[in-house]
Point group: C2
Chain length 654, copies 2
Amino acid sequence: MTDSGDLDAAWLPSAAFRAVGSRRSLVRAGDGPPAETVYAELADACERFGGRVVRDGGDGDAELVLEPAGDDLGDEGFALTRRGGTTTVTASGERGLLYGLFHVVRLGEDAFRGERAREVHRPALATRMLDHWDNVAVHPVMGQVERGYAGGSLFWADGRARGDLDRVRAYGRLLAACGINAVAVNNVNVHETEARLLTDRIGEVAAIADVLRPYGIRTHLSVTFAAPMVLGGLPTADPLDGAVRDWWAEATGRVYEAIGDFGGYVVKADSEGQPGPFAYGRSHADGANVLAAALEPYGGTVHWRAFVYDHRQDWRDRTTDRARAAYDHFTPLDGEFAPNAVLQVKHGPMDFQVREPVSPLIGAMPRTRLAVEVQATQEYTGQQRHVCWLGPMWSEVLRFRPDGGVSAGRLADGLVAVSNVGDDPFWTGHPLAQANLYTFGRLAWDPAADPHAVLDEWIALTHPGAPARLADGLHAVLDGSWSTYEKYTAPLGVGFMVQPGHHYGPSVDGYEYSPWGTYHFADRDGVGVDRSAATGTGYAAQYADPWAKVYESPETCPDELLLFFHHVPYGHVLHSGKTVIQHIYDTHFEGVAEVEEARRVWAGLADLVDPARHARVAERYEEQLRSAREWRDQINSYFLRKSGVPDERGRTIH
Amino acid sequence: MTDSGDLDAAWLPSAAFRAVGSRRSLVRAGDGPPAETVYAELADACERFGGRVVRDGGDGDAELVLEPAGDDLGDEGFALTRRGGTTTVTASGERGLLYGLFHVVRLGEDAFRGERAREVHRPALATRMLDHWDNVAVHPVMGQVERGYAGGSLFWADGRARGDLDRVRAYGRLLAACGINAVAVNNVNVHETEARLLTDRIGEVAAIADVLRPYGIRTHLSVTFAAPMVLGGLPTADPLDGAVRDWWAEATGRVYEAIGDFGGYVVKADSEGQPGPFAYGRSHADGANVLAAALEPYGGTVHWRAFVYDHRQDWRDRTTDRARAAYDHFTPLDGEFAPNAVLQVKHGPMDFQVREPVSPLIGAMPRTRLAVEVQATQEYTGQQRHVCWLGPMWSEVLRFRPDGGVSAGRLADGLVAVSNVGDDPFWTGHPLAQANLYTFGRLAWDPAADPHAVLDEWIALTHPGAPARLADGLHAVLDGSWSTYEKYTAPLGVGFMVQPGHHYGPSVDGYEYSPWGTYHFADRDGVGVDRSAATGTGYAAQYADPWAKVYESPETCPDELLLFFHHVPYGHVLHSGKTVIQHIYDTHFEGVAEVEEARRVWAGLADLVDPARHARVAERYEEQLRSAREWRDQINSYFLRKSGVPDERGRTIH
């Protein structure tokens, strides 16, 4: 369960356990699965590093004690103290002990030095979830994992659950170590085979849940809103129909017979062709609540996605703005959702572009439970062939205050990421993309955390005892990588200049005349989407002040979002002092230069990194550089041909 | 074998045989397969329409006599005479009698009126061939039939030959009736499964050949140049290697054991990823000749495709011009190909666009046998969802004289079409696309024929006894349909403004920054590709005079090819008197109006056409109209945004 021949240890190499494994430890806890895990982890570490661990009654000389406490730290919180040579972790619940153990692991030798006043750690968000867009049966277009860039699925292969769950077990352990407590095991686009996981194939889900439970992780399932029809043979899936309500109640009861701590359902309804309540003239609250009612007796939750928009828009229609859709659909329903229904909202109003404003829906539904959804899988951010560490982007979202204030008021009840993990030996295809998964978990636990500190934490855990040259090099290639990616791709928040379908590589007009509601409106004079209230689609007015005012005018709109909110002439001068067109040229040349520099830095680390890992990253840098140059040249050529404005610095534009 | 419940009779409905079926006929011929077919056709028709047919010794009162003649009409020619109440068809070969019979069928009652001096009919081109791009195993991207728009394959299903060959038999009969004498049964992109048709699976090909033989059709096979390696286990496929030569000789010998009249091989080598002689530093003549040598003892032919170009071109590279490739590759090899090697050249220098100049390779290799390849399957011309009758386009190609003269000098030795037929009940998906198949066969027999007369012939045969309103209506919706399609798609010969991959529907920049060598270079000032010798890629100089001169200058270049040969400002005035930009707007509005009119005409024929057939066409007109409007609006918007020039007539451009 630590380093193994065919599976990368990621942020839990055995050396990370040296400090705890060389101590005398005492575990006082129940015998539930997470407590067993705590003991087993320590036992395993002690066997390797010469320490000792005992359960319950101890000999009094323990250097590390993990024990239950009556005080209310919540189900997952823990407290850490060090006094008189003993480091003590206390928790109200077994999961708290588990998180406490991994906290001590992260501290390493620091956990066993000096004195330490009592610190309480509690997750800021109750739900810290990964959604797997994994198909059970290989989809003819989307494959085994929709938008997956790390091989096949951890859970499924060729229509069935994988027999060997060792990898799932190792995955659960990695997730626990960064604080994730929920996993949805199948794609939100629920096809025919996957629909049946809810009923006659629930046993396959239960087997996965059994393996994840010891790591404090509850298992969730994506279901189709049409399940009462496609599985139950009912003539309708109308959420207000009594037979439909009964069907969900009965089906859910059977799910809990198989999985006592089942987390709940994830639903993509009335979205990109999936069925939903609109077919029956019902609201999304009606739809969510019928599932919530079925889950309520068992403590389950329905995650109801807010990704509802017209995906068959006519590009000629300038009055419809996809960015408005989620807010327009859902804010009228505030207060109508059941207490165990969570509205799952993408962080931006569009779809995981490299730069979007924070969705105005977040903060606009005070009487509704909300989870924010981000995308760890790099669909639009380089598909794990490019280095693009998303910590700073997610941190910006999590620190966003809809009222413009700086209060630490909680933005949402949960944070969800679309997983970037598959059956790739390095878990994430690109070894450096592991940093995204780790950072996601840590930010979900503490949204106020400094992402750069989390990055360094990941570096230190993944490369225990790394010399400064390695740690600095890793920090250098990761820390600015989101900004670098943004520089060489779609400029100034305009988004969607990607190849249709697979979304890798540039195609400036690829989505310009499409039905997807994704346009930049570039012409010979200017570019961008007017979303102002005064002259545009009115999207800017969905925000509360001060944001509504800030975004309304090109004079106050932040540069990086200018083309998302405004259509401006190429000669418009940014706050940076550059014209839009020169900004486009400059950033595209800079972005490529930054990739060249990162590749050079990585090459210089060859002596410090495992050869297979180094080679995998080096090979991906070659592709990233090729692709970045393609982005640079296509975008620059496109805008030179359209604007006719030459580069001030006379560089080559084709 | 005539009208059947589930298979459209196309141009051989039983009523087309009324005239011959109600006569007394005498057939004097051998007992080879084509002669048997002649007798069986007449017997079948007589049974239906009350006539009588006898073989050999007759009673002297026959109204129709078909008999051999010693005079040299060639293997396929025939003579027709009518004297004293007897219509006589004579031929040197059995296939000539078959073509003579179908000629009499086409004449109908006219064949039995008055006197008729001896007319001799001979095909102008020896090879009149259909290439099926049918895969045996379903290809993950390209499906059962690559670029097929008429359902599955006639020959193959799910990895095997179809058991039931009735449809192949009916197909052979249709082909014989329009003069086609060769069929290649598998895709030129030869994948793993298909490669084996040459060796252990030749029996499946032989079964098809047995069914086509009675219709005078020889069967051909697409093979992979790497066959000696992938099938023979040799370490090389070098055409100058003795073992390779021996392998081809032996494999070919076994093919002829299975199929005594096997036609030969079709090869796509060094083209879009297929293997070829370049890997061994050999020329394409070397490559073709090793296969030709193997076929020579048996009278077989190798069709060697000239579709060789760099499909991984860098769009930034303005010096490489894909249009030049075939000429540059092949003209240096003139005279080096074996007598039984035929160079198969696409009619244009690019790839079956709606408008291209005739390939300069045609006419530039006087010492090489040449076949011209056209595309009946409508890959770039509406995919059998749009009506696009290609007779006039093919006729323009066939009447083209490389030296600018008007001599009837033969352009090539053969004409080949990529088939548009599948297992669709109407054969071609769109019922009106049958006209393309028929027209192809008739033009291959007589390239000088008036295509419009061929169209009327097809109309009369397909709808025997059609009232004038139906015949006129069909003529109206078909005759101008190529021009209509051209109007609403890529303008003035520029080509390739299609969606990448599937090639259906508009994407103006879809191939602009691609590796495929397909660019239009539109910027805010103008559009088109400079292929002049003076300032461009020099492609125009590949033509002999007068064409080299004509194409060299925008002043003399025909309007419809202007943007193929020249990059001009949007304000450039065409010979038509319009500016380029206004031409773009006008033709796109006109094209859509013409589709609306054709749809209206078709709707008015509902009372005269079989309901299923009428409904199929009507449904496709809805899609054609939707698609044509999309083309119009995307192209017009693209060029308005880029040029900034408003439409003179103030019509809506989005």
